[in-house]
C-alpha cells in the first residue's frame, strides 16, 4: 500500500498543475477586467496606505481622497453604486506587483507616470489626475531658504519611488553631497524625519503637505520653494485590456469634462435634461457613447452623482475645502490657465 500511495504523489502533483493551468486560462485579463469586476460585484482598487487628501481612511473607516474618488467614480459608472469598491492599501514598493498579478483592477495611488513604468512593467497610465512635483520639507529652525543650501544634509525618502532617483539627480547635478536614508513606508519615513534622523524629508509636494499634518507641530516645518521634478500622477491599469483601459481613462475624463461644463453633484439632474448638444452627448440622451465603453448611457450622471466633478473632488479633498489647502495651481482647467485638459466626449 505504501508503495502505491508514494507513486500517486507525482500523479496528484501533475493533476494539480493541470488544474492550475486550467484556472489560469480563466484569468481576469482573458475574460476582460470589466466582466470579472461585474462577476465579483466589487471593484478592487489599489490605494496608498494613508495619505490625507489622496487616499486615507477617516475615523469611521471610510476611505476618502482624490485618488479614492477616482475608484468610486469607476464603481459608480459600472454598478451605479460608489460603495462597491474594495480598497487595497499598498506601499510604493508593492503597488505595481499587485496590479501586474491581478490582485487589484486599477491602481489609483499617487504614482508618477514615467516611460519605463509605462513600457517595461506591463502597465498603462490612463491619464493625469494630479500634476505634482518633488519638493523638500525641512525644520524652520534650520534656517534654510533654498534647496541649494542643503549640501551635506541627511535626506529621508520612501523607497521604490521616483523621488529616490530624482533627489540623486538633483544633488549630483548641483554638486552637493548628501546622505539618503530610504524607508519602506511613508509612515516610517516621516517618523525618522521627525525624530531628527534626517534634516530633510523629500517627496511629491502634495504629499509633503499631507504628511506635514501628521507631525506633532506642523507649523515648525516648511516646504522649500524648489520643485525639482515633474510628477504627473494618475490611475494605472494592466496592459492588454483595452476596454478596461478606456473605462478608467474616460471616467477620469468625464470628471474633468463635467467641471468644464459646470456640471456639479447638485445640478446634475437638471443639466441632464438640457438641450445643449454637448450635454446631450455627455448624458447619453443623444447617441450611445456610454454603451461604446461597455457601460450604460447614463454613465456620466452616475459618476457625477457619486463624486462630483473634478473641481469639486479637488476642493473637497485637497483644495480650499480641505485641511490641506493646496492651491489648484497647475491643476486648474486648461481654459483657466492650468494643465487639466480632457479630450471631448463625442
Amino acid at each position: 500500500m505504501k508503495r502505491v500511495s508514494l507513486a500517486l504523489i507525482p500523479l496528484l502533483a501533475a493533476f494539480a498543475v493541470q488544474t492550475a493551468q486550467a484556472q489560469s486560462q480563466d484569468k481576469p485579463r482573458d475574460r476582460g477586467t470589466l466582466q470579472s469586476v461585474k462577476d465579483r460585484g466589487t471593484l478592487s482598487c489599489g490605494v496608498s496606505q494613508g495619505l490625507p487628501g489622496f487616499s486615507a481612511p477617516d475615523d469611521k473607516g471610510n476611505w476618502t481622497g482624490l485618488d479614492v474618488d477616482v475608484c468610486r467614480a469607476i464603481a459608480a459608472a459600472i454598478f451605479n453604486d460608489a460603495t462597491k469598491v474594495k480598497f487595497v492599501p499598498l506601499s510604493a514598493k508593492d503597488r505595481f506587483t499587485a496590479l501586474q498579478s491581478g490582485e487589484i483592477d486599477v491602481l489609483s495611488r499617487n504614482s508618477t507616470w514615467t516611460l519605463s513604468r509605462d513600457t517595461s512593467l506591463g502597465l498603462n497610465y490612463t491619464g493625469i489626475s494630479y500634476y505634482d512635483g518633488q519638493g523638500f520639507l525641512v525644520r524652520k529652525s534650520l534656517k534654510v531658504n533654498s534647496a541649494l543650501e542643503l549640501n551635506s544634509a541627511s535626506i529621508c525618502v520612501q523607497t521604490g519611488t521616483t523621488n529616490e532617483q530624482n533627489v540623486s539627480d538633483y544633488f549630483k547635478g548641483n554638486n552637493m553631497k548628501y546622505e539618503l536614508i530610504a524607508f519602506g513606508t511613508a509612515d516610517e519615513t516621516v517618523k525618522a524625519y521627525e525624530s531628527g534622523r534626517c534634516d530633510v524629508f523629500t517627496s511629491d509636494v502634495s504629499q509633503l503637505y499631507a504628511e506635514r499634518l501628521k507631525l506633532a507641530a506642523p507649523a515648525d516645518h516648511a516646504v522649500l520653494p524648489e520643485v525639482i521634478s515633474k510628477e504627473p500622477l494618475g490611475p494605472v491599469v494592466r496592459h492588454g485590456d483595452d476596454q478596461w483601459f478606456d473605462i478608467v481613462k474616460w471616467t477620469l475624463f468625464a470628471m474633468i469634462n463635467a467641471e468644464e461644463y459646470a456640471v456639479t453633484q447638485k445640478n446634475v439632474d437638471e443639466m441632464a435634461k438640457s438641450n445643449k448638444p454637448e450635454l446631450k452627448r455627455i448624458f447619453g440622451t443623444d447617441g450611445n457613447l456610454g454603451e461604446q465603453l461597455g457601460l450604460t448611457k447614463d454613465w456620466v450622471t452616475r459618476i457625477i452623482k457619486a463624486t462630483g466633478n473634478y473641481g469639486e473632488s479637488f476642493d473637497r479633498n485637497v483644495g480650499a475645502g480641505s485641511k490641506l489647502q493646496i492651491a489648484r495651481g497647475l491643476n486648474k482647467l486648461w481654459n483657466q490657465g492650468g494643465l487639466q485638459y480632457a479630450p471631448p466626449i463625442r
Binding site: S120, S168, E179, F183, S195, H239
Partner: protein, 401 residues
C-alpha cells in the same frame, strides 16, 4: 585467495540499487525516478508558465537590467558606490551590508549568549537571576519591536549633530551615528601588517609546541607572555622603524553633518544591537542546556583532580557540551542572518532592502530579483551550516582521539 570469489559480481549495481531504492529494491528505484521526473516537470511548468504570463503582459524579463544604471544612492556601502553604478553593484553593496551585519551580529550574539548562559549557571544568586531575567525579557518580545525600540526610542533620542556628545574632540555621538577618526593607511602600512602576521604565526607555533610538550612530556609551558610580547612588540618595532602605519582623518562638523572620519550609522547600530541581543537570549538557553547535558560527575571529577571551576568548564565540560550545542546554535546563526532582512523597517541598506526593495520597485523585475535574493539567502544558510558542520566534525574527531 579463497576469499576472492565471495566479492559480489555486480557491486556497483547493488550499491546503486541500495542508494536509490532503499529497502524497496527495483520498485523503489522506479518510484524514485518517476518522482524526480515529476518534480523536474513541475519545476519546468512553473518557469514556463511564469515566462509566458510575463510575456503576455509585456513585462520585461531576463537579467539584462543588472547592467543598467541604478541612479539612486545608498547610505552605507563597503565598496565605492555612486548613483552612476549598475544594479549589479547595488546587489553586491546590499549583499556586503547583509554579511557585515550578520557576521558582527553573530560574533556579539555568541559572546553575550555564552556569558549569559554561564551567568545563569553561576552559583551567584544575583548574577543567575539577572541572566535569567535577560533571557525571559528578550526572548518574549518580537524582534521587529526590539529593532524599532533601539532605533526610535534609544538612538533617535541622541542629540543632533550640532549638539553631539563629544569625546576628546575626536569622537562624536549624535542621532546621525557615531563618528570616529578614520585610519588612513600610510606607505609603512604593509610592513606593519607583515609584522602583525609574523606575530600571529609565531604565537601559533609557540602554542602548538606547548601542546606538544604537554602531551609528550607532561610539561606545562607558560607561553602567553611571550606571545603577547611578539604580538605587540613586532608591530611596535615596525612602527618605530618605518613610521606610523596609519594617519587619522579627523571628523569635523561642516554644515549639517560631519565631514571626514568614519561613521557607524544608527541604522546599523540599532539592527546589530537588536539582532545580537535577541539571538543571544536563545544562544544562552542552548549553551545552558548543552552544559547541563554533561553529567554532573564530570564537574566533580574535574574538581577532584584539583582543576579550578573555570578550568573544568573550559577543558572538560564545554568540549563535551559542544556536541549538543552545535546543531541548534547553527540554527540561531541562520536565523540571525535571515532576520537581518527586517532592516527594511529602519532603512538599513541590506540586500533585502536595497535589492529586493528599491531595485525591485525601480525596475519591476520581480521574478528575477526575488529569485536572486532567495538564492543568496539559501547560499548564506548553506555556507553557514557547512562551516558549523566542519567545526563539529573536527570537534568529534578531537573528542574521539
Amino acid at each position: 585467495m579463497a576469499d576472492a570469489p565471495r566479492k559480489p559480481p555486480l557491486r556497483l549495481v547493488a550499491r546503486l540499487r541500495r542508494t536509490l531504492g532503499g529497502q524497496a529494491g527495483w520498485a523503489g528505484v522506479v518510484i524514485q525516478i518517476l518522482f524526480v521526473a515529476a518534480v523536474v516537470w513541475i519545476g519546468y511548468e512553473i518557469v514556463e508558465n511564469a515566462r509566458a504570463n510575463l510575456q503576455a503582459q509585456r513585462i520585461a524579463s531576463g537579467f539584462g537590467f543588472l547592467s543598467n544604471t541604478a541612479s539612486f544612492a545608498v547610505s552605507q556601502a563597503l565598496i565605492p558606490f555612486s548613483e552612476s553604478d549598475t544594479y549589479a553593484r547595488v546587489f553586491v553593496v546590499g549583499l556586503l551590508n547583509t554579511l557585515l551585519v550578520s557576521i558582527v551580529g553573530i560574533a556579539i550574539a555568541t559572546i553575550i549568549g555564552v556569558a549569559v548562559a554561564l551567568g545563569r549557571l553561576s552559583p551567584n544568586w544575583l548574577l543567575a537571576r539577572i541572566s535569567g531575567g535577560y533571557v525571559e525579557l528578550i526572548r518574549n518580545l518580537p524582534l521587529l519591536f526590539q529593532i524599532l525600540f533601539w532605533y526610535l526610542a534609544v538612538l533617535a533620542t541622541l542629540p543632533n549633530p550640532r549638539q553631539s556628545i563629544s569625546l576628546l574632540g575626536s569622537v562624536f555621538l549624535s542621532n546621525r551615528g557615531l563618528v570616529v577618526p578614520n585610519p588612513v593607511p600610510q606607505p609603512s602600512f604593509g610592513v606593519f601588517a607583515v609584522a602583525i602576521a609574523v606575530g600571529i604565526v609565531a604565537s601559533l607555533v609557540m602554542r602548538s609546541y606547548a601542546r606538544h610538550q604537554l602531551f609528550a612530556k607532561g610539561e606545562k609551558l607558560t607561553i602567553w607572555p611571550f606571545a603577547l610580547a611578539t604580538l605587540i612588540g613586532l608591530p611596535a618595532l615596525a612602527a618605530v622603524m618605518f613610521g606610523a602605519p596609519v594617519k587619522f582623518d579627523m571628523p569635523e562638523l561642516k554644515g549639517f553633518n560631519f565631514a571626514g572620519g568614519a561613521r557607524v550609522l544608527p541604522e546599523f547600530a540599532a539592527l546589530t544591537i537588536a539582532l545580537s541581543t535577541y539571538t543571544a537570549a536563545f544562544i544562552a538557553e542552548i549553551v545552558r542546556a548543552g552544559i547541563q547535558s554533561v553529567p554532573k560527575g564530570q564537574m566533580e571529577a574535574g574538581a577532584s583532580l584539583g582543576l579550578t571551576r573555570g578550568q573544568t568548564l573550559r577543558q572538560v565540560v564545554i568540549p563535551q557540551a559542544m556536541r549538543v550545542i552545535l546543531p541548534p546554535l547553527t540554527n540561531q546563526y541562520l536565523n540571525l542572518t535571515k532576520n537581518s532582512s527586517l532592516a527594511v523597517a529602519i532603512g538599513y541598506p541590506d540586500l533585502f532592502s536595497v535589492f529586493a526593495g528599491t531595485a525591485l520597485s525601480q525596475t519591476g523585475q520581480a521574478v528575477e530579483i526575488i529569485a536572486l535574493t532567495m538564492g543568496v539567502y539559501l547560499l548564506l544558510s548553506l555556507v553557514t551550516s557547512a562551516i558549523m558542520s566542519f567545526y563539529g566534525w573536527r570537534l568529534n574527531r578531537s573528542l574521539a582521539a
